[in-house]
């Protein structure tokens, strides 16, 4: 399957601040990809570049093989749910569906009304009167009924309570399986993504830190503890992500393709959250520490 997102040297600068810098990545099709990173890491910028709400300052981005938002045909292939799921507060639920039908040639009216029924939303209700969870579901319905090949969601559950969060992600997963969608969604809460993502992109400080299939990443990363070693004496195929040392002991998060054979090391598996946190705290700066705190919260 071809890549759904392909970025080369992609960068976006606001005045003098780079919101995203030198981003090169390839997100393959058929996955639910989680884009993880602390607030301000450039997740929204990357997604906005992908749906054409922003133009890159540097580099290129292709989406499903085409230029982002190049025309109506390209727009029709990508569904987008923006952060805080904006809707027209004065328009009713039914009018939002009508909006979707009028603005999208591939609109699936049956799917839209079935979802509204299933959610128990009153079609006559104004969108401004919906709860946060309902609004997010309405926005998701609009994006799904457009029948896109790729669905992009920017922090879709950030403002939802835990129950609404779970429900939203569940609906998303069902729809993804049903329609064979590729999905890219961002979050600063790893726990949300752990359940749903089979591909991962970690973004911090405007740079991509690591990308890969979740399973592979989990298989390749280990937490190892052992007697204190000189970093130079570690095996050559180990990529050390984080290291902490006491007088007698070293604790490392490493990435390696092969097994850890040296019996001096105690190897324990990493959870996805630990893995992400390891990358976020790598080369920890005060700013990153703060980001980490938020992440843990």
């Amino acid at each position: 399957m071809t890549a759904v997102l392909q970025a080369a040297g992609l960068g976006k600068r606001y005045r003098r601040q780079w919101a995203l810098a030198d981003c090169t990545l390839e997100v393959p099709g058929g996955y639910v990809t989680g884009l993880v990173g602390p607030n301000g890491a450039g997740k929204t910028t990357l997604l906005h570049l992908a749906v054409g709400l922003l133009e890159p300052t540097a580099g290129t981005i292709t989406v499903l093989g085409g230029a982002a938002a190049a025309g109506p045909a390209q727009l029709a292939r990508v569904g987008f749910v923006a952060q805080d799921t904006p809707v027209y507060v004065h328009l009713s639920v039914a009018e939002h569906l009508r909006l979707g039908a009028r603005l999208n040639p591939g609109w699936d009216a049956a799917l839209a009304s079935a979802r509204i029924d299933q959610l128990g939303l009153d079609p006559a209700k104004r969108a401004g009167k919906l709860s946060g969870g309902q609004r997010a579901q309405l926005a998701l319905t609009l994006a799904l009924a457009k029948r896109p090949e790729l669905l992009i969601l920017d922090e879709p559950v950030a403002s939802l309570d835990p129950l609404a969060r779970r429900e939203f992600l569940q609906h998303l997963m069902e729809a993804t399986a049903e329609h064979g969608l590729s999905v890219v969604l961002s979050s600063h809460v790893v726990a949300d993504l752990e359940r749903v993502c089979d591909y991962l992109v970690v973004l911090t400080g405007a740079h991509v830190q690591v990308t890969g299939e979740t399973e592979d990443l989990l298989a390749q990363h280990h937490l190892v503890t052992g007697p204190r070693r000189d970093p130079a004496a570690l095996p050559g195929d180990w990529q050390v992500i984080t290291a902490s040392h006491t007088d007698r002991q070293s604790t490392l998060v490493i990435r390696t393709a092969g097994p850890v054979l040296d019996p001096a090391w105690t190897v324990s598996p990493l959870s996805l959250e630990d893995l992400v946190l390891a990358y976020l705290s790598q080369a920890a700066s005060p700013a990153r520490d703060r980001a980490l705190l938020r992440l843990g919260a």
Binding site: G79, Q83, P86, V89, R102, L103, G106
Partner: protein, 334 residues
């Protein structure tokens, strides 16, 4: 796209329609009442009846303090504000509100390019603004036309912009100016304030500065016109003249008084009869001086030419600005 634009504009359109309906009733009644006064005074067909002066005097007297005249004059004054209101309340929030509430992210990621999204909105709401203003102005102009027989100064800075077709041109420009402000400022209230400010400045600038350049004025030299002649006599018996030019309903740029030898007349010794008190003999004495005048002016017959020129320019500016908005939203909006 048309449906969404209409749905979002619906509430504002209803307000516009209500204003139009109220204005039609009020102005219709006032207009009918004024037409009645006009007929009773015998102004229509007065030429054939042997003179209009009496009929016009009668008409003038009957309009004095008439409610219909108040209503029509109030409506005319309101016409100078309507185009600005269209810009502030229909133009400025058009894009700014979407940017402010983030709904542009919803709208621009449907299967319609944002250039088309904006173009449809510009055309639909812009045309509505122009039609609303145009109809209001049409009603004011048509129903207060008898008053034009009394107040001949239609070229005056105020009245010129309150009737005819120029208000429609102003509305087109004001609307697009509002959209532009919203697009650049991205916040509704500041965009509304900026629209009001810039629109007023441009309207004033055009009225007091640029309008007189639209057509080259006529220059007519002739004997000094003694009608509506203003004069002042100083303690030293010096006579100063303030000539009005004497072209009916014209827009007078300047009147220069000349001596019979062709030199500019600034002031001169006052004829004896002018210090005595009888104005008519004084005027007779002045006419004996054989003074001449050069009047630089736009004749009354050019009123509609000016209306068309100015409307055309404002509509042209609106179209150019709208094109710039579409370009901006496509290429530069980030």
């Amino acid at each position: 796209m048309l449906w969404l634009s209409w749905r979002q504009f619906r509430a504002q359109a209803l307000v516009g329609a209500a204003v139009l309906a109220v204005a039609a009733v009020a102005l219709g009644l006032a207009g009918a009442s004024l037409a009645h006064l006009y007929a009773v005074a015998g102004v229509p067909g007065c030429q054939a009846a042997g003179g209009c002066a009496r009929a016009l005097r009668l008409f003038s007297a009957s309009t004095d303090g008439a409610a219909s005249v108040h209503v029509l004059e109030l409506a005319a004054t309101a016409m100078s504000v309507v185009p600005g209101l269209v810009g502030v309340f229909w133009g400025a929030p058009l894009v700014a509100r979407e940017l402010e509430t983030g709904t542009h992210r919803l709208a621009w990621t449907q299967s319609v390019t944002r250039a088309r999204w904006l173009a449809v909105k510009l055309v639909l709401v812009g045309l509505a603004g122009v039609v609303l203003t145009g109809l209001l102005s049409l009603m004011v102009t048509a129903w207060s036309s008898p008053l034009n027989q009394l107040n001949l100064d239609r070229f005056a800075y105020g009245p010129f912009g309150e009737q005819g077709i120029v208000p429609a041109g102003y509305a087109a420009f004001g609307f697009v100016l509002g959209v532009t402000a919203g697009l650049l400022i991205r916040r509704t209230l500041p965009a509304m304030a900026a629209t009001l400010l810039v629109f007023t400045a441009i309207r004033m600038g055009f009225t007091y500065g640029a309008r007189r350049l639209l057509m080259a004025p006529l220059r007519v030299t002739g004997p000094l016109n003694l009608q509506n002649l203003g004069l002042a006599i100083s303690n030293h018996h010096k006579l100063t003249l303030y000539a009005s030019g004497g072209h009916r309903g014209a827009w007078i740029y300047s009147v220069q008084v000349l001596t019979p030898a062709g030199r500019p007349y600034v002031s001169g010794p006052a004829p004896r009869s002018c210090t005595g008190g009888d104005f008519r003999t004084c005027l007779q004495a002045i006419s004996q001086l054989h003074l001449r005048q050069i009047v630089t002016f736009q004749p009354a017959s050019r009123f509609w030419a000016f209306q068309w020129y100015e409307t055309g320019l404002f509509i042209l500016a609106a179209v150019a600005l709208a094109a710039a908005c579409v370009w901006w939203i496509r290429r530069r909006m980030n």
